[in-house]
Amino acid sequence: MIHVENFSFSYSSETEPILKGIDLQLKQGEWLVITGKSGCGKSTLAMALAGFLFNPPAGNSSGVIKAHGMFAMQSPLHEWSKFIYLVQQNPQDQFCTLNVQDEIAFGLENRLEMPELIRERIEFSLDAVQGKNLIERNIFELSGGEQQKVAIAAAVALDPRVLILDEPSSNLDPESTDRLFQTLLKLKNTIDLSVVIFEHNISLIKKFGSRHLVLKNGKLHEPDQKEFKRNIPNYFKKDQSQIDAYGSKLINVKDYNVIREGQEILHVKNFMLKEKQIVSLRGPNGSGKTSFLLSLIGFLPSRAKTRQILQSEISEKLSFEIRSRIGYAFQNPDDQIFCDSVMAEIEYGPINFFGSDHPLVNREQQLIKTFDFSDKKEFHPFKLSYGQKGRLNLAAVLAYRPKLLLLDEIFIGQDIGHIRFLLEVLNEYVYDESAAVLIVNHHPEITRLFADDFYVIQDGVLCQENLNADVQKIRGKKELAYAKE
């Protein structure tokens, strides 16, 4: 089906190849998951397999990628994608029309298919992704999971033999991810479609019984099971004295309503975050997690009986001094990179808040070392991988030593090792600075290992999750639940 032999690739702007002699054989109807640390070249390999890197060439390549008697390097993209189709990381970016029906019809219309056949293919592909109910919907009304479904349906309608997905679960909640993988499994079984998934979420691999390869140092390897079996660091277990040491309230809201476009979209009965606490917040896509965070720093309006942040009233006019004590890491790292080098990016917050003479401005060296950017400190941040950019965002936020950290899905694009690293950094920071962290995430299996309190958003209401019994049980065990897999 796909035959890759000794394939190497380096981007035009870099001397070191990112892929070094990749060998891969993919059979008809096979289900392959490729994992690897962030920045290891997964997206590059996905784009190479999809034929995106060659016409025009994005860099220097050697070796062979062959399928159906065609060579990726010599084939125009429209010919190659008849057999191998890539669903890109953000489905919204690849939509070409404004509604679901037009989107699925788009490729078929370009291939001059007749309306009768187009109608059949739309019905078939939407049925295959269990999305028949979406046919009349506007693209902008779709949730993250629904967007993935439509992107896959648009691909399936073109009848490719191999479907490649680049980190399909990165923006999805666990339920949507599960549904998506069920859909893919059904496709594989019904139309004998080969599926290649580039993914961080290792727990999905065993669950769906796929072949697994790891991309490491530019090559594909069989997975090393030992890497996934590490002990829980001891500091994740908190004893009573640590719990008693929680300090004053940094966030305190009661009967709190978040308002978006004049409408109350979220109700919070009671939410509290104290010094030295790490609190997890989860909820389905579109439930209002980000809106809650934005409202806390006054970027979205709110109404409440009590609404305090760092002992100040939450409002759209939070003082500059209060803002300097709040660190906010946004979901998409690309939206928060403002400088031309990694070092300047880390200095950006401290200079803005305190001026260039402040001692905090000289803290960047320490953060560069901690976050392992020593050999990249002069790099342009946009040259970093998605995961590296995410870590740089956190470093840039920690640089001005905020008292309160509001972190929006910072685990997206991070492999297990780096998630562990981020947790270690946060845990240490919370104790050193008597700070607190509110972390929005889709990883209950991870957060229940380190968070002190758990909140969930369901049906427009933010409430406390009763996980304590569960948490104590899990924390008592030595191995990470997800690592066992």
Binding site: Q94, F95, C96, E109, I118, F140, Q263, R323, C339
Partner: protein
């Protein structure tokens, strides 16, 4: 949950009285109606047209005062009227306001220009609220607009809300990291603004990159022509409405000339 009181000026699926018509019919109607409004010089006829337009909104169950920007529209229209009232000194002096005489011709022009301004804007609102932009562009392509231009338009429409959200996100991220968009020091303002646009541009380029792969991968632009799933054919009602509107315009021009 409390409902938003303002209705944005954008196509809504529930539509208006014109929504059942083909988008092309709607566009022809808007052009004809605007021509008639601009040709009308009798202030009272202009007022009648305004009333008809308000009736169309009422029949479409749209509360005019809840439309986005209505306050601005009314204020601007009022100002246009006031300028006519106080600066046109022709005809008979009717009354005095703050010692300034208001003349009969001034009143007539105030009614004419104010109501014309409101009518033209409202008729374009009605078109936007009634017409699915996607269907409109598809109809134009079916009519002969080269499909590459058509899809350029569709993607511009698609990118608008995305770039709006992107602007908000980047701005929020920048402010949360201490950036201040104050006039002084000017060098800081220039730096912050440059950084903002740089992030926005890079982000949009990335989106365009993804879109290009998607377009090319799905064979866009490969042939001179393409097939269309949707026929978007004109129905008899469309032709009847267009003919009636054209007849009305012809009659109107005839009456104006003679």
């Amino acid at each position: 949950m409390r409902r938003n009181r303002t209705r944005p000026i954008q196509y809504a699926p529930e539509g208006t009285i014109l929504s059942r018509l083909n988008p092309l019919t709607n566009s022809v109607l808007v052009i004809l109606a605007t021509t008639i409004l601009l040709l009308t010089i009798n202030p009272f006829t202009q007022l009648i047209f305004l009333v008809i337009i308000i009736v169309l909104f009422t029949l479409s169950k749209i509360k005019l005062l809840r439309l986005q920007g209505m306050r601005f529209l009314l204020i601007t229209s009022g100002l246009i009227g006031i300028i006519q009232l106080f600066f046109i000194h022709q005809g008979d002096a009717l009354f005095f306001v703050f010692g300034i005489a208001v003349y009969s011709h001034g009143v007539q022009l105030a009614i004419l220009y104010s109501s014309r301004f409101i009518s033209v804007i409202l008729i374009s609102y009605l078109f936007i609220l009634s017409t699915n932009p996607n269907e409109f562009v598809y109809s134009l392509m079916r009519l002969g607009l080269p499909y590459r231009f058509g899809f350029a338009l569709i993607n511009a429409l698609r990118m608008l809300p995305i770039s709006h959200q992107e602007i908000q996100r980047i701005n929020t991220a920048q402010i949360s990291r201490g950036a201040r968009f104050k006039l002084f020091p000017v060098s800081r303002l220039i730096l912050n603004t440059t950084q903002f646009f740089k992030v926005l541009l890079i982000s949009m380029f990335k989106r365009v990159d993804a879109l290009v792969y998607s377009l090319e991968g799905r064979g866009f632009g490969l042939s001179q022509k393409r097939t269309f799933l949707k026929t978007n054919r004109m129905k008899s009602i469309d032709w009847v409405v267009i003919l009636l509107a054209a007849f009305f315009l012809g009659l109107w021009i005839h009456m104006r000339v003679n």
